[in-house]
Amino acid sequence: MSFIKNNIYPIFLIATGIFIAALFLAFQGSEAILPWLKYFLFPGVLFVLLMGLFYNWFDRKMFARMQNRIGPRFIQPVYDMLKLLAKEDITPDGVDKPEFDWIPGIQVILAFLVAFFVPVYATFGLISFEGDLIFVMFLLALVGGSVFLMGWATNNPYGLLGASRAAVAEFSFEIPLGLSLAGPAILAGSMRISEISVSKFSLLNLPVNFFAGQVTIIHLVYLIPLIILFAVSILAATALLEKVPFDPAHAEVEIVGGWTVELTGKKLFFTQLANFIMEFALAGIIAAVFLGGPGINDFNVNIGNWDVLGYLASILSFLIKTTVIVFLITLMRTLHSRIRIDQLVQYFWKYYLPISLIGVFLILVFMGTIGVV
């Protein structure tokens, strides 16, 4: 009994998750209730929220374990978020009030929007249309802009410095990120995330297809540029999420949290939540583009008309892939120290941009010589 009492919130959350999954599976044939479930419960708002909190916990726990610490409890992010909501919301004198009030909310909306493009259980996400990868890139650019405006609105020297650093970092990592996502898109012949994810030539599907006899051994040469682009995309995602080593805009010890320095209560809640959700969303997008998203090759299609087992298998595969990507990002921040903003610009423009260009170039060369079957 005391176990239940002590772990009431995790048990409640897991029970809610199971209940939602059961509801979803029970009503999947029903046209009337499915959209509601879709947008608000399962791949929609609630699921994204919980996944964001889960990956925050996972990130912190792994970080702590690799440092020989015990780390936070499973429920810790939920407590943190609830606490921030209950705290006093201070608007300091001298801030630019409209931006200061609105941008945290806008960041959450942007993060949710990106997360809606992530294919979770089917080959397509909640929103999917031709060219949605470009739209996602556009949303990610807006996130950088919102960070800059937020820092500017605080009117605090640390905030201003953080804002200018965030803008510089944005200019640096945006192009390598775009190029690294463009490579698989060129290979798949589509700018639609769902079509890229089912492509035979993504990083994970290529070896699987080779063993299944779908592609010949010579096509395995595509793995070289794909691995390069995958690495660049992880680095750029680390920079976008403002994690060590690419977090000069947020540097806790020198500019005291940068653009978040004046935020309290609800506003801090919103920015942190946006960051958590963005971590999940980015991991999901990278998983879809490089690792085939929820499916492995056309496994899901073969299993039959999306029955229960198919859904569960694809959700599981999606979770494993995103967890691996989040773990890679955590590993980055465990193994490195923060670099300066000038070094960040240097690394991205001098090394990662040419590397990603070479990756895309190699893909184009191989497509010209070997071709896509």
């Binding site: 440092q67 020989n68 020198e254 005291v256």
Partner: protein
Amino acid sequence: MTEYAPPIPETPEGDYSISIGPQHPTHKEPIRFIFQVKGETIEHVDLRIGFNHRGIEKAFEQRTWNQNLYLAARLCGICSAAHQFAYAQAAERCAKIYDEIPERAQYIRVIIQELERIQSHMLWYGVLAHDTGFDTMFHLTWRDREIVNDILEIISGNRVNYAMWTIGGVRRDISRDQITNIIPKLKDLRKKCDYHRDVMMSERSFIARQENVAILSTEDAKRFCAVGPTARASNVNCDVRKIDPYCAYNKIDFDVPLWDQGDIFGGLSLRLDETLISIDMAIQALENLPGNPGDIKIRVPRKIDPNEGIQRVEAPRGEDIHFVRSNGSEKPDRHKIRAPTFANLPSLVHRLKGCQVADIPPVIRVIDPCIGCCERTTFVDIKTGKSIDLSGEHLISRTNRAHRLGTRVLEF
């Protein structure tokens, strides 16, 4: 609300100014740097100290010689043994019993000071790693630092303020059991410090933040009178343990590492080397502990005849000087402290110019500032720039009045 300090001059040099301190995550201690910044480059540095002034030198005059031992330990929590030791030695010189200290006590003094140097240096490079965002290394070094704290706890009974010294010797002996217990721990620690050295000297992103940042040339180190590891990283051999040996340092075999780069990386490499050497020295002293158990102190009279005593000590941060004057009573007439951080601050201000904002935490860290030790005070007339001499009673009445009236700036 303002503070008891002259107003910040309006310098047209930078675009805007950043104030770091008195409360800032980089440097937990209250000190204030005002940076005039252009873009990301620092154009001008202004320094405000005095937030940590606790009137400790005045408090020395109000307590007896033996009570002052425990006050001296509270000058600084990290190098408490060095300060307490310097005070005890100065008092011994003052009482003319310096040559009569038992040899066993002198060896124990070396052991405690070297153990303190190990924990201080490990603390330093752990916090440096934290300042550059390398949290993993910070946690690993602090995990291993607990070993030194355990050893100190075995010997003295406390983790931080050891209170091992007394005027005329040491307060606690180290038994044979303790030695057999401690030496394997120190050897284990040496392996771990070797590992820290390997990691810190090979991690690229960590080194990239430090190489060729805030270089202090040998000439500048001499010109700004830098002391301790700060100066040794700039190839100035100024180790008091070697050039002016005290207690048993002339009987122990050790090297003084020097580094000629003078940047942050030089300071890091030097301290990593010194940690290893200090571990060896502690093992050496423990193995060769002379004398009979229990023969650790001599009796000292409560009152000390009028005399003066001065002692230089190599604290973990550099040369620490204590001066005492007795007047025949139970209490010292005057006690003066010159802490190593105070000597290193001018070179710090020189080094910060031209750095980037992101370099501020490691550059402040490189002199290993300990504001707790260094807060002495001088009254300066803002208008003429001359210092003013105030007697102790005058000072107390003035601060009381200023506090009562609520005026923040003292008018002269």
